[in-house]
Symmetry: C2
Subunit: 336 residues, 2 copies
């Protein structure tokens, strides 16, 4: 198992963000010592009630401290962007981290983002698929001509290439069944968004596995990973007391954003936090965390877990303590 | 006078770019010790025959070493981008460098860039002006509604704001007379692109000054600056021998790109390098550089100079030597 964590990128309005960036840099340094393998950051725009930094500059800044860890976008909202811009920006990121960049993309679901970028929401899937195809071709072909519904290129040559050959790994975060099946065809691995219950995820892994088989691809692919909210403290009571208020605030906002609408039927975020956390978040002492991670590994076949260790407003020291506890008690358990 | 330099961002195809980034980091460290005030990087796409990195990730990476220096885009090709993306990306950059970001923009002129982004070149000016207006409003107003020709926003609230209040300085690189006059109205300062002869620039400064007066704005504004190709060595012969071959290669490509077509009538890059350098580039020993800088300061009224010290293929050690010589012999001369 490889372990990653996502940078604290989302903070309450009014927070002094330069301090938050300084803290993120400290976390990366500590995570590197603690044995983490991967650092990620995702993309949202217009993220009221939070301030949400853009992931590429933040990842480029922490690359200075990341050592041998890989870096990557959890998701980038590919349907909002021009493929030539994406191809050269991610190639530059791959250069900056010495060929250790993982390109994670997602479809997005928030109306406010599509509206502000002038992208009709009904076109998001076809834009996403077209952009992904164009980016791959720009990275791997000397001259690209492409006439699609959304993008037109005539004999374009991308000189600004990634370090990794033929290209950086492409992973897709997906929550609904059809997208999960599609990932088998279009990307190197599925990143399980991890907001749904374990029973739902287990069922979806079955779909993914069958779709991979139909493509003649092995299961599990190397970067098949699960994103998970995790909080660890010395004992269970402290873990729950310290984490749940921040998780509750975050999921109230995400319920308002409508993120649960992209989950399979029956999944909702409109639940009391005590009930929401069951089966969805890992919050507990080291032994509990080990058991939960092992169970997810066993039931889902994942090769990597990416923890979200921070929610808007959570004090820096708690995240540092969580990284330390994971490095001391949990990660070593999964090293073979 | 403040002094800046632009990062080596453009390299021959085949160069190993991670090494070039490591060198850029060293340059920033040395420039900081040498007394430089500002580090910049510009934007181009599809920059054959060179590899051209994207400026925001590169600037974010070197921010780790920049100390109190300001950072900024020399230009960003604003007409190619969505204003919400630009507003949040530059705000994130401003956070990463602790409120020291200067937002430099330019119109662009290369067909290959506009074509690849699906932007009709005839719309580039109106897109540029509209995007600039929207970015300013997103940074300074709580809720923005905008119905333009290119961009539509309804009651949009940008929570991801810059650190600098009300917003980062906006500077515009411009080469033609009408754009120079327009800069007086739409931005905080003109950045003289510096490719034209001194006589042409002097005439254009007259236009700029008159346009500022018409707006009731003082001349010169604080960040009124000149970008200039500069190479310094211990003696004149070495300077010419070491710099001219690289300058020649770069300007052959820029002539092919058609950059001289956006200069005022009579200006061309289609000249032998010996002739091209006269009056356009500063290449010489420390005393010559001091005299040239002083003359530009006197005749143009500039408050800042930004040096391009590197051209594709030039060895790292030559740039390091130039930064060192500037810090030891030239910059102190202009400190009051």
């Amino acid at each position: 198992m490889r372990f990653g964590f996502s940078l604290p990128i989302q903070h309450p309005v009014g927070d002094h963000l330069p301090q938050r960036v300084a803290e993120a840099v400290e976390m990366v340094r500590l995570a590197r010592q603690a044995g983490f393998d991967h650092v990620s950051a995702s993309q949202h725009y217009l993220a009221a009630p939070f301030q949400y930094m853009q992931p590429l500059p933040l990842l480029a800044r922490v690359a200075a401290e990341a050592g041998d860890m890989t870096l990557g976008t959890g998701i980038m909202l590919l349907a909002l962007h021009q493929p030539v811009d994406v191809a050269e920006s991610i190639a530059t990121m791959d250069v900056i981290c010495g060929g250790r960049f993982v390109f994670g993309v997602g479809l997005g679901y928030r109306d406010v983002e599509f509206d502000a970028f002038g992208v009709p929401k009904g076109q998001r899937l076809s834009r996403f698929l077209e952009a992904l195809e164009v980016v791959k071709r720009l990275w791997t072909e000397d001259r690209v001509t492409f006439h699609g519904t959304h993008f037109q290129l005539d004999d374009v040559s991308l000189t600004m290439r990634p370090v990794q050959k033929p290209r950086p790994p492409i992973v897709v975060a997906a929550s609904n069944d059809r997208m999960v099946q599609r990932v088998a065809r279009i990307a190197d691995a599925w990143t399980i968004a991890g907001h749904a219950t374990l029973a739902t995820l287990e069922r979806q892994v079955g779909l993914y596995r069958a779709a991979l088989e139909a493509e003649g691809k092995p299961f599990p692919p190397p970067r098949f990973s699960l994103g998970k909210e995790l909080y660890i403290a010395r004992d269970m009571d402290a873990a729950l007391r310290e984490a749940l208020p921040y998780l509750a605030t975050k999921y109230e906002a995400y319920a308002q954003w409508g993120q649960d609408h992209v989950l399979p039927a029956g999944e909702t975020f409109h639940l009391p936090i005590e009930q929401l956390r069951q089966d969805r978040f890992i919050v507990g002492d080291p032994q509990y965390c080990i058991e939960q991670i092992a169970e997810h590994e066993r039931r889902l076949g994942i090769q990597q877990m990416g923890f979200r260790l921070h929610w808007p407003g959570m004090p820096h020291q708690r995240v540092m303590q969580a990284i330390e506890l994971l490095g001391a008690h949990v990660l070593p358990h999964f090293r073979r």
